[in-house]
């Protein structure tokens, strides 16, 4: 993927009529966040959907800090190339640049354009700008909802079609593609044959969003807990259970409904999301509701969110006592169900910079790990039912 992105970029750059010429200028922009999260409980660590390495210290800069650069290059009268490189903490605790966007856009008519290349997986309402914290009131999008999709990238094609229906701007966006992701402890997952349709409606201050996406799905766990469990399951003849935990034959569906209202004073938003997985991960639904009010450069806000477990990875009854416990522990460690209430304030103290402070009370459901990781694996059931108080301070900017 990277190779052809750079090949494409080289072709674009090597064009004789390039910058400032017939098609306009290159534009460089960027965004970033430096954020520290602090919890009152040092037996757990916050993770961003296990995509970053869970922190060991009490103040963790890993989950939310990120930096990104973006380049937009016009390549023809109605065609342009967008490249976004971003760097945040990855699953191994390293900060290495990755390609976020790399697509060629062709605008065919004022209301129709297509994009080909690397885009973000658009399963949720805020997926496209998920890591651009400056564009959101909060320190991070509600993890109960946004943690349900671990995938970032979609290598494929989408089509954006705008139409005007009774004064409302309606956007129809079908897409196809594939993607992969690596996560904590040498795990990785792939989506292929991914297809979906998003519908957005903009009416004045209100925007509405509905989306459906589905995909073939493969997943490999790399952690010691899985390897031991997998070996034990096979030893006792439970290959069928083993095949529910990891493999290449999964199918996954995402459905979402959301809205945003911003009249300059009030900021109201909410989203409902349902994830159905045939195997390898749990099936869940989740929602959030958020209310903010702008007073000059200050925006206090409150957000409530909840994720529910609909079905664990496997529900097969295991007759071997120790093994049954192992499968239960495995289900628990992959169950993110929790609910939280966050209150915070955003301060737009300078042009293109915002400082945010947030306190959240997170209640992990029984038999779950929520959006947290234990710092010691001695008791996998210790997180269930815990209440975690989390404090986050975040500085966001764009240029």
């Amino acid at each position: 993927m990277l190779r052809w992105i750079f090949a494409l970029l080289w072709i674009v750059i090597a064009q004789p009529a390039r910058s400032g010429g017939d098609f306009g200028d290159w534009q460089i922009s960027g965004f970033g966040t430096i954020a520290g999260a602090f919890s009152d409980d040092d037996s757990i660590a916050l993770t961003r959907g296990a995509l970053n390495k869970p922190g060991g210290g009490r103040i963790d800069l890993g989950p939310d800090s990120i930096i990104g650069f973006q380049l937009n290059i016009p390549v023809a009268t109605r065609a342009d190339f967008t490249l976004q490189i971003r760097a945040g903490e990855d699953d191994k605790g390293h900060v290495e640049p990755t390609v976020g966007w790399a697509f060629l856009r062709q605008t065919w008519t004022p209301s129709l354009s297509t994009r080909i290349g690397r885009m973000r997986v658009p399963f949720f309402m805020l997926s496209d700008s998920l890591q651009v914290n400056y564009s959101n009131p909060w320190v991070r999008p509600p993890p109960e909802v946004y943690g349900l999709n671990p995938f970032n990238d979609l290598d494929g094609v989408d089509l954006l079609y705008h139409l005007d229906i009774a004064g409302a701007d309606v956007e129809v966006r079908p897409y196809i593609g594939r993607g992969r992701v690596e996560f904590a402890e040498n795990g990785s997952a792939q989506i292929s044959n991914t297809k979906g349709l998003n519908l957005s409606v903009y009416i004045g201050h209100l925007s509405l969003h509905a989306g459906h996406g589905e995909s073939r799905f493969a997943l490999q766990w790399g952690d010691a807990q899985f390897k031991q469990l997998d070996a034990a399951l096979r030893f006792f003849g439970y290959e069928n259970v083993s095949r529910q935990l990891a493999g290449r034959d999964g199918y996954i569906r995402f459905d979402t409904l959301g809205f945003q209202w911003d009249d300059g004073k009030w900021l109201v938003s909410g989203e409902y999301m349902k994830r159905r997985a045939s195997r390898y991960i749990a099936s869940n639904h989740a929602w959030f509701a958020s209310l903010g009010y702008r007073v000059g450069d200050w925006t206090p806000y409150v957000t409530v969110a909840r994720q529910f477990l609909d079905a664990p990875m496997t529900e097969t009854v295991i007759a071997v006592p120790g093994l049954a416990e192992g499968v239960r522990a495995f289900n628990v460690s992959r169950n993110d169900a929790q609910h939280s209430t966050a209150i915070g304030v955003r301060w737009d103290f300078a042009r293109s910079m915002a400082l945010k402070g947030e306190y959240s009370r997170n209640r992990i459901e029984k038999d779950a790990w929520g959006t947290f990781f234990p710092t010691s694996f001695a008791d996998p059931f210790a997180l269930g039912g815990k209440t975690v108080h989390l404090y986050t301070l975040s500085l966001d900017w764009v240029f």
Binding site: D80, P110, D128, N136, D262, D297
Partner: protein
């Protein structure tokens, strides 16, 4: 003392004048194909949700530098304050949806650019409108 008073009054007037600039006009060059645009079209053009008029003519907006005139323009045209506009654009730009308007350095440069490039439109205070530009829409 009198001198100090005059300075204070002068500064106060200057501040008021800066806080409330005169009405604005969206303008194009004299030979531009755009003759007039509706308020709704103008809003979508300047918010990056439209890049051509119904007849197919491509239109690219140009911004003034950050400041009271630009803030007033967006507030009156789109109802969004400067913080909202920046958050809005950050979402659009980094979602790979649109590129923000190019920025002119001054009202004089807007007038010169719209005449140099037929597809450009800009906004300037009504008081700066002269024979070199065509008014497409008045923003009050």
């Amino acid at each position: 003392m009198r001198w100090t008073m005059s300075l204070i009054i002068g500064l106060a007037i200057a501040t008021i004048a800066q806080a409330a600039p005169s009405d604005l006009a969206i303008v194009s060059g004299k030979s531009s194909p755009a003759v007039e645009i509706s308020r709704e079209q103008a809003e979508r053009l300047f918010l990056g949700r439209l890049d051509a008029l119904p007849d197919g003519a491509v239109v690219n907006p140009v911004d003034l530098p950050p400041g009271p005139v630009r803030d007033q323009f967006y507030l009156h045209l789109t109802g969004k304050n400067p913080n909202q506009i920046r958050a809005y654009w950050s979402r659009l730009v980094f979602a790979g949806r649109a590129v923000p308007p190019k920025q002119a350095q001054s009202v004089a440069e807007v007038k010169s650019l719209v005449n140099k490039f037929n597809d450009l439109i800009g906004y300037i205070p009504i008081s700066d409108v002269d024979n070199s530009v065509r008014v497409l829409l008045r923003i009050e």
